[in-house]
Symmetry: C2
Subunit: 219 residues, 2 copies
């Protein structure tokens, strides 16, 4: 059965997954890039950002965790703020995501939004679907699109919280980075009841992140 | 000059330093013991709890961080809830702390409380002073008592937050444990402005904790 998995959800020591004031210049909010340094520094991450990293460069812990997030994933769900900085009704259809002409998904991506727009097919096999359906229905559509593979829940904070509260997340990988944000959005806010259903099943660290895997208990 | 240092301040992955419902049976709140497992398992911690640990038992990362908290400390400041579960006015003077006849401090300990009571001298050189003075004044008294050594700020959460907001904490060691509490008291709540004055200067992990040292920036 397909799982719903969250990967590489980075946060600061003080618990913020994104900084305040998200904008075109600061897709992750002010200071939000700092919690993702472990990604930018890993061979997998650098390849994703277009760097020509030699195949024999040794992988590390960070690389391993980053790579898990793109393994056996057949569809992605994300919130509208992860798709872009536009708020409210779409002024036009010119915004096509943060990722350029060829987004790194290569499968169907379901974007949660109250503002309808036509599906958007990009180079490399990524198609963005915009939907106001209830989150469990979106998950059902994503599972179907994934065709036997798992579904990745991308973010941001509010989207992950909604799925956590609904008890629909099977696995959640958080990366705690050696930095402080002071303010922003907390992942673990308003999810107390849901958290009781999870346990920490992995806990390993590199110099740039502590990786914790939270797994839903068998019920 | 004496520093004010916080050590071994443990919290869960979801950011809670103590569980809810502190009581005589649960000094750290329900589930709060779990975030301190790295202490209970370390040779230093086991010795503190009275176990006869062989001198040649190898120390690890956790032991090193635990030991730092008792090195070059000449006085301690703690909140009233760290001293005991009694709330409001003291019904009598029978409560003398969680630690038995010989507390592990061996120096002057200043307990912040609005409810006066006489100083209390225990075996082994620990004297508890109860004070309603402003926190900066308490720090000045503790520095004097420490006689050139540093002052340790013990806890709990609210006490550390007060000193953080006042900009009086020089160094803060937090230990993030591989567990989830779901609810309780957050260390990093209501301290956004203060946190901007700190940076993470150490970040190392064992299987039972990620240790982060936050140091006040030079101003």
């Amino acid at each position: 059965m397909s799982k719903l998995r969250v990967h590489s959800f980075s946060m600061s020591i003080d618990g913020f997954a994104a900084g305040p004031h998200q904008s075109l210049d600061d897709p992750l909010g002010v200071g939000g890039q700092r919690v993702h340094e472990w990604v930018f520094a890993s061979p997998s991450g650098r390849r994703m950002f277009g760097e020509d990293v030699p195949a024999d460069e040794p992988d590390g812990i960070d690389d391993d965790f980053f790579a898990r997030g793109v393994t056996n994933i057949g569809a992605t769900i994300m919130g509208r703020n992860m798709f872009g900085p536009v708020r409210g009704a779409w002024p036009d259809l010119s915004w096509t995501g943060w990722w350029g002409d060829e987004p790194p998904y290569h499968h169907d991506v379901f974007v949660l939004t109250h503002h309808a727009r036509p599906s958007l097919s990009m180079q490399g096999g990524t198609t963005f679907h915009f939907t106001a359906d209830p989150i469990d229905l979106v998950l059902a559509r994503a599972v179907e699109a994934a065709d036997g593979a798992d579904v990745r829940l991308g973010g941001g904070v509010s989207t992950v919280q909604q799925y956590l509260r609904a008890g629909l997340v099977d696995e959640l990988h958080v990366a705690i980075a050696p930095t402080l944000l002071g303010e922003g959005e907390r992942l673990f806010e308003g999810v107390s009841a849901a958290i009781a259903g999870y346990e920490c099943t992995e806990f390993v660290s590199s110099a740039l992140a502590t990786h914790a895997v939270l797994t839903r208990r068998m019920s």
